[in-house]
Amino acid sequence: MMIDPLSVFLLLLSAATPILFAALGELVAERAGVLNLGVEGMMITGALAGFAAAHGTGNPFLGFLVAAVAGAAISLLFSALTQLFLANQVASGLALTLFGLGLTAMFGKPFEGVKAPAMPTGPLRINWIVWLGLIMVPLIWWFLNRSRAGLILRGVGENHDAAHALGYDVRLTRVTAVAFGGAMAGVGGAYVSIASVLQWTEGMTAGAGWIALAIVVFSNWTAPGVLAGAWLFGGVTVLQLRLQAAGVQVPVQLLSMAPYLATIIVLVLISARQKFSRRAGGAAPGSLGQNFHALR
């Protein structure tokens, strides 16, 4: 069996892209102190909305734009619950995922069996959305570590009481960060339907949103770490597909477990490192998952 390294790498880039987008978005939300377990719901929403728009207009890029808007819009439900109504973030994120899966299953029926418009490829035979994802990595790194707004966002995520005491709007910062996370998850989801599978099927993101959440942990809450995690995941997926195609004597169902098992293994390794290392503070934002309420 001949495997051309370059073509494998290109496949890997493509397989990693949905997760990369979703995880980068969730990274920003988590750095602002919000744990949004609704990534899967936002991705599937983006997958359907983007596919519908791309199919309707014949323009895939318009599809990605609509997916971003849809992802951000549905994330506002989560923000309303957690930032306005101070609901538990874990439960609210789950609700968003269940709701997104149901909503898309309901509205997606007419789009089943329809083909997506062709994606034009960019430089090096890589499509433009893959390029966009790669460019987002340094951009988000720069935003978080070098910009004033990124500093405020990290401050809000690290210690919301202190950020509030210094006069920063914790709620606005968080709603914005979650909406950005939603837009990114939407684009990631749309990549699955428009550029990867090329059609719409119910529940097609198949846990990619949850894997993205695990990759944020793996990344130690840094943008380059997210890229590494997404590539690792992409590599496992491509390898698994290659083994399937090569007709290895292992049942297909067992091979297709590989991405999920790999995620668990990676999560365990990285959690163990964070747990047993003596580095002060740890990497998770200090206020992650906690709600903020101030009496005025």
Binding site: L151, L166, G167, G281
Partner: protein, 512 residues
């Protein structure tokens, strides 16, 4: 007693008729006072007197319901802290408003409206911190700093903005006496440049020796304004509390046999922010009160956890009346007679959402027979809660009230009462009167003395040196997880204690 404000210098800040209410609480009522240029002005009052609410209004965190404020000649009604900073108000918080995972420079940038570029900011931090004798490395992360160094970050953050009014909320509560002296030297320098300083504290001695004026608050109102240097600590305390302080009865105790022996107790830090315990040795006799002093974060919580059983230790390190408890958890230690009351009342010593009845089950299940073979005796728990409430004068509607609804003083009386009424052989308490009003503090202290009089051994861990001098027979200092040898409290001076506690936090470096 002189009333009114100092008219020789221009008032930098004035407030008239400030009022603020929260549901069920009148936090501030008709508060008027003024701070002059170059003046260190004390805001003095008990816990809950309304000091914090008042300064939060000046800093734009809370909006007043009534009243006027002026900064210089301009009305001062900041919509948020950024507006207040833009107007020239800076504030150092009691619980620091710092971001642990960020660097010193990033923390300072977050406290400024228009921070200069990164490199320039780093240079200016180094410059200003050098000028004031408060050395700081701008690229260090906050988690790696001591409490004293963290406060420097807050102060430098304020100084870089050249504030007209600097507010300091209980700044010395986390400092050793020597570190506090250093802080006052800095404040003097600032005042000499014309900055007005509003200094919040309930520590009478430091206010008497360092402040030019004092405004005294009680129950949200201004009860007096005076020159603190012209009054004794007792007179100031009387103004603050409204009556003479209650005296405590220390008589009638006799040291008996040894009840608790701690030998070579070591434990690595439980978290990255925690402190390791390093070879702690102590002995405690029946009827004795051992005081353990130290600045916050030097291993107090870890020591309490190692004694309560929340943390285990090597065999033979904790022995109660000859029985080795080091491998046992909290429940069997309680059954053996070793009880504890942690510092954090809400969330550690008590479950905030649970009623007082349910909160008795947290520690009194076995000794009071409230839990038998796993089954809860709810009626018995209620009776025990009622008996604690009446014996310790906990002022609440009834045992069904949730712990979080209690004031600090009432909850502390309940927590201490819950342990004391189980007749322990040894009781370990951490910060028994922290954030508690004077009446409740006196009651808690008296109950510890009474417990010792009945023959129990008591360990009091506290940052309040006056409290330790008042209660304990022997005193030792906890410093970076090491416990000093005990010295008899009789004849011990604050200076001597300061030396026992000191040496920590790079004091030498800071004096340069």
């Amino acid at each position: 007693m002189t009333k009114g404000t100092n008219l020789t210098k221009a008032a930098v800040f004035r407030a008239t008729g400030i009022g603020k209410s929260y549901p069920g609480v009148r936090a501030n009522d008709d508060v008027s006072f003024a701070v002059a240029e170059g003046e260190i002005h004390a805001l003095l009052g008990e816990n809950g007197a309304g000091k914090s609410t008042l300064v939060k209004m000046i800093y734009g965190l809370v909006r007043p319901d009534q009243g006027q404020m002026w900064l210089g000649d301009a009305p001062h009604h900041p919509a948020d802290p950024r507006a207040a900073r833009a107007a020239g108000v800076a504030m150092v918080f009691q619980h620091f408003s710092l971001f642990d995972a960020l660097t010193v420079a990033e923390n300072i940038a977050l406290g400024m409206e228009n921070p200069p570029p990164r490199r320039e900011l780093a240079t200016r931090i180094t410059q200003v911190s050098h000028d004031f004798g408060l050395p700081l490395n701008p690229s260090r992360r906050i988690v790696t700093l001591s409490a004293g160094e963290r406060q420097r970050v807050e102060i430098i953050r304020c100084l870089l903005q050249n504030p007209r009014l600097l507010i300091m909320d209980e700044p010395t509560s986390v400092l050793t006496p020597q570190e506090a002296e250093l802080l006052f030297a800095t404040l003097r320098k600032l005042a000499a440049r014309g900055t007005a300083i509003l200094y919040i504290s309930h520590k009478l001695d430091e206010i008497r020796s360092h402040c030019d004026r004092a405004t005294i608050l009680r129950h949200g109102r201004v009860v007096d304004s005076c020159d603190p240097r012209a009054h004794t600590a007792r007179e100031l305390a009387a103004m603050m509390v409204g009556s003479e302080m209650r005296l405590i009865d220390r008589t009638g105790r006799r040291a008996g046999d040894m009840v608790l022996r701690v030998e070579n107790l070591s434990r690595s830090a439980p978290t990255a922010e925690g402190t390791a315990l390093k070879g702690v040795n102590l002995t405690l006799r029946a009827g004795e009160i051992l005081g353990i002093g130290g600045v916050a974060g030097n291993g107090q919580e870890e020591l309490l956890a190692a004694l309560s059983g929340e943390a285990r230790s090597i065999p033979g390190s904790v022995t109660l009346e000859g029985r080795d408890l080091s491998a046992l958890g909290p429940e069997p230690r309680r059954e053996a007679g070793l009880l504890a009351a942690p510092e954090d009342r809400l969330g550690h010593a008590a479950v905030p959402d649970f009623s007082l009845t349910e909160n008795t089950l947290l520690t009194a299940g076995a000794r009071k027979g409230l839990v038998r073979r796993g089954l809860i005796d709810h009626a018995g728990a209620r009776r025990y809660a009622e008996s604690v409430i009446s014996a310790f004068d906990v002022r609440i509607p009834g045992p069904g009230t949730a712990a979080r609804a209690l004031s600090g003083g009432n909850l502390q009386k309940f927590v201490i009462g819950r342990e004391v009424m189980q007749a322990p052989r040894v009781l370990v308490v951490n910060q028994p009167t922290w954030g508690v009003d004077a009446g409740a503090a006196a009651a808690v202290r008296q109950s510890l003395l009474d417990l010792a009089r009945k023959g129990a051994g008591v360990i009091v861990i506290s940052q309040d040196l006056d409290e330790l001098l008042e209660l304990s027979d022997r005193f030792c200092a906890l410093n970076e997880g090491r416990l000093s040898d005990p010295v008899p409290t009789e004849g011990l001076t604050l200076d001597r204690i300061g030396l026992m506690l000191g040496g920590a936090h790079g004091m030498e470096e800071a004096r340069l």
